[in-house]
């Protein structure tokens, strides 16, 4: 059974390459454009890992992360913040929510794949 990955970002320009990349590496991918969609997808799709943007319309990535963690299935899910917010204070705020990783944009595909592989193989 393929590892399921949920990509949460409101920018199709980043969702498309990430989805392609994950699929090429044998992962099953679902996308969500808002925090609310992501929470719903966590219940219905039950992903193994979430690539989560922070700057989302409506509910932001921080709150989405908290909500996912509060669900029974959410505690087991690996979450990686994938964001353009690269200031130290942003990173510190993000890490306080105890995600599994924090990647700032722009990133290399190889780096993202390495981190995803490491987390899903744990």
């Amino acid at each position: 059974m393929a590892t399921k990955i949920l990509v949460v970002d409101d920018e199709p320009s980043i969702v498309v390459p990430l989805q392609f990349l994950m699929e090429q590496n044998g992962y099953e991918v679902k996308t969500a454009a808002t925090g609310e969609e992501a929470i719903e997808a966590v219940s219905s799709y039950r992903p193994d890992l979430v690539l989560l943007d922070i700057m989302l319309p409506g509910m932001d990535g921080f709150e989405t992360c908290q909500r996912i963690r509060q669900t029974p299935e959410g505690r087991q899910i690996r979450i990686i913040f994938l964001t353009a917010m690269g200031r130290e204070m942003d990173i510190a705020k993000g890490m306080s929510l105890e995600p599994d990783d924090y990647i700032t944009k722009p990133f290399s595909n190889a780096d993202v794949m390495d981190r995803v592989r490491r987390l899903v193989s744990d």
Partner: protein
């Protein structure tokens, strides 16, 4: 007691003492005599009583005259002198002693009057100097007050105890609040005034902290000993306070007072926040777009045999994100530009007033006569007047050099929001 009464008291007491002394002497003498001598003496008194009485009366009268002379020539004048000197010293320094008396007393009066002249002259000199110093101090104070009133900063000068010795209008604007029953913090309001404590308008702890900081810097003999802190003023304005010590002349490390200079940094903070926001937005936009572009390019490079449709998607992403980057740059540059223009120190001026200044300066500095057509036109400019005057003077100078003429005419045209200025030579040969 008046001098006349004093005299009679003095005379009575003197005569009484003399009579008592002579009587005691006579009793003692009478007791030493033999009975026959007493009888002889008694007989003599009895037979010549009138002569003896007259002699004693004359002696007593002589004593009274001597006493009177002494009293009027020495005792009364000296008593009066003390009163007169007190008048000169404390009431009227122009008063002079006019009094009869003995030669010694007259000499003393002359010396005292000479001293009074010197005293009065000295007093007048001192008064003049004090008056001059006061006038000078008042003038300097007025100058300082007018200078301080024009300062954009608020200034408070306090003594070491925090008593306000001087303040400007801006200090009241920044710190004073009217009391209101609904305000739990300042129900009676906060007021700035001479002699009031600065601690009633600024938190005591902040000032004490600044003074401690200054004391430490003085101990370390630092060049800049000013201390800084930030407080919230009226209507939530953010005020940056610079505390500067007033050092005592005798001991350069002893603080005799302090000056508080308050800068309103609310707008600056807001501006910095806006610039920071602008910059952060740009950085995030760039990061996001670069992430998309990089990810797409890396995918194309990593999977060269991908389907044409997928490849086309990536090409579109790259194209779209490069456009987004360009737009983001343009938007940011435009917003930053408008921000800089907003904060440039520009003033509103009527064109006629601006060109009246330019006319005068052109005549004085360039020997150029500039006629202004329709100077009362209702045309207003928002400009840096100094730079504007300088640039137009430069233009006139160049026109003069190029044409050899020294008379020009200018006319304004208001086209939408832009004011055009046309210059023309006097003989109608159009230049601009």
């Amino acid at each position: 007691m008046n001098p006349r009464n004093k005299f009679w008291w003095f005379a009575g007491v003197s005569i009484g003492i003399t009579v008592v002394f002579i009587s005691l002497l006579a009793i003692f003498f009478w007791r030493q005599l033999f009975p026959e001598e007493k009888a002889l003496l008694f007989g003599l008194f009895k037979n010549h009583f009138a002569y003896i009485f007259i002699a004693l009366f004359l002696v007593m009268t002589g004593i009274v005259f001597v006493l009177d002379a002494m009293f009027h020539n020495y005792i009364i004048p000296i008593s009066k002198l003390a009163e007169e000197v007190a008048v000169i010293h404390s009431v009227n320094s122009s008063h002079r002693i006019q009094m009869a008396g003995s030669r010694d007393i007259a000499r003393l009066i002359r010396i005292i009057n000479e001293w009074a002249d010197s005293f009065e002259s000295l007093r007048r000199n001192v008064s003049q100097k004090i008056h001059a110093a006061k006038s000078e101090a008042e003038e300097e104070k007025n100058l300082l007050a007018s200078f301080m009133s024009e300062l954009p900063e608020a200034v408070l000068i306090c003594n070491a105890d925090g008593k306000i010795l001087f303040y400007n209008k801006r200090a009241r604007e920044f710190l004073e609040t009217k009391g209101s029953a609904s305000s739990t913090e300042d129900p009676d309001g906060r007021f700035v005034g001479l002699g009031r404590s600065v601690f009633s308008v600024i938190d005591e702890h902040l000032i004490l902290y600044a003074l401690d900081d200054i004391a430490e810097k003085l101990d370390r003999q630092e060049v800049n000993v000013a201390a800084y802190f930030v407080l919230v003023g009226k209507e939530g304005r953010l005020l940056r306070v610079e505390a500067v010590p007033i050092l005592q002349k005798a001991d350069a490390r002893q603080v005799g007072g302090f000056i508080l200079i308050l800068y309103d940094i609310t707008d600056r903070i807001e501006t910095e926040r806006q610039v920071d926001f602008l910059l952060q937005s740009l950085v995030r936009r760039f990061r996001a777009s670069l992430a998309s572009i990089r990810s797409a390019i890396e995918a194309i490079l990593a999977y060269p045999r991908m389907e044409e449709g997928q490849l086309d998607n990536f090409r579109k992403i790259i194209h779209k994100e490069t456009l987004v980057l360009g737009d983001a740059l343009d938007t940011t540059a435009s917003e930053y530009d408008s921000y800089v223009k907003t904060h440039w120190p520009l003033v509103h001026l009527r064109v006629g007033d601006l060109f009246a200044t330019i006319q005068r300066k052109a005549r004085e500095k360039l020997d150029v006569v500039l006629k202004v057509k329709d100077p009362d036109a209702p045309c207003w400019l928002k400009v840096d007047s100094y730079a504007m005057v300088l640039s137009i003077l430069y233009l006139l100078k160049r026109l003069k050099e190029e044409t050899g003429r020294r008379k020009f005419e200018c006319r304004f045209d208001l086209k939408s929001a832009v004011c055009q200025c046309r210059y023309r030579l006097e003989r109608r040969s159009r230049l601009h």
